[in-house]
């Protein structure tokens, strides 16, 4: 079977992490018995994996949980955070109010223009006269 060196090594590397087919397994075993360089590569990978897996339990040093808790405490004391939390808490109500105001404007306006939605409908001179505002202004 004419498989080049790289393919053999690839198969060897995959054998550590993936299930090989019966044919692949048989081929690899045969090659490992015949090719000492491949056998050496296998031993090297086994050693590397053993050393990598044999690490001590890690930590971030003493009182790590306390340090995290302190950062959270200072974060809470931060005025910026409190303002953010306040707006975050009432953001639903605020958005609801804005939508309600927009809807009221649309319902009570004569048109569906942007100005009417925003409650900025243009008043004519006649409208102002009718409301006695114009007279009030020029007196």
């Amino acid at each position: 079977m004419g498989m080049d060196k790289n393919k053999k090594e690839e198969l060897l590397l995959h054998s550590f992490d993936a299930e090989l087919s019966t044919e692949e397994k048989a081929f690899l075993e045969k090659e490992l018995a015949a090719d000492w360089k491949l056998k050496q590569a296998q031993q090297a990978i086994v050693k590397i994996r053993e050393l990598l897996a044999a690490h001590q339990p890690e930590s971030f040093g003493a009182f790590f949980a306390e340090r995290v808790a302190n950062r959270i405490r200072s974060f809470h004391q931060n005025v910026e955070y409190q303002l953010f939390a306040f707006f975050k808490r009432y953001q639903g109500v605020a958005i609801g109010l804005v939508i309600a105001l927009l809807v009221i404007n649309v319902v009570f306006a004569d048109s569906f223009s942007l100005q009417s939605i925003l409650g900025l409908e243009n008043e004519t001179i006649n409208d102002l006269v009718q409301l006695d505002l114009y007279n009030g202004l020029i007196k």
Partner: protein, 178 residues
């Protein structure tokens, strides 16, 4: 007394009990530290990243729906923040390269300890290989779990693992004689 579950501790934390969150930190510190230190090395930045992992988790507690376990969630944050750190280092190294690299090589030549050599070679891996190798080879997650944690296909995990191991083996060739 039965140990409280992660979900119970999360509920207590949301209710304002910071001690419950400290218990969560203590429970998951080792895994997070393993991943972060493996990715960025046992440096000062590692502890900062560790803190940031838990702070981000704390800030997103209200959004945490429990689709993944707390451990999985934390490892994802840890990997992402570590990758960000490696990216920053790479950008910094564009400006400060030759002197540091020279020192690295000189130091590596003097070290005989295989474990240290592996750490040095591991550190040279590209971030995408390092994250896969960290989860699979250092932390012992299965290939499927690694794929889920990194949100990449299983085939990509396998090919990155193969390339990472090949690079490590080539790098350690003269130190691994049988």
């Amino acid at each position: 007394m039965a140990q409280e579950t992660d979900d119970q501790l999360i509920d207590q934390t949301i209710g304002g009990d910071l001690n419950a969150f400290k218990l969560l930190v203590q429970r998951h510190e080792s895994k997070v530290a393993g991943v972060v230190k493996s990715m960025v090395g046992a440096t000062e930045e590692a502890a900062d990243i560790g803190q940031e992992v838990f702070i981000r988790f704390y800030q997103s507690l209200s959004k945490f729906r429990g689709e993944a376990s707390v451990g999985t969630y934390l490892i994802r944050i840890a990997i992402n923040l570590s990758l960000n750190e490696l990216k920053k280092r790479k950008q910094r190294n564009l400006f400060f390269t030759s002197a540091e690299e020279g020192g690295h090589v000189a130091a590596s030549e003097n070290r005989q300890d295989l474990k240290e050599m592996i750490t040095i070679e591991f550190d040279k891996l590209d971030p995408e290989f390092k994250s896969v190798a960290t989860l699979r080879l250092v932390e012992g997650y299965s290939t499927e779990e690694t794929a889920q944690l990194l949100n990449i296909p299983l085939g990509t995990v396998l090919s990155r693992l193969a390339r990472a191991q090949k690079k490590l083996r080539i790098g350690l060739d003269k130190h691994l004689k049988f």
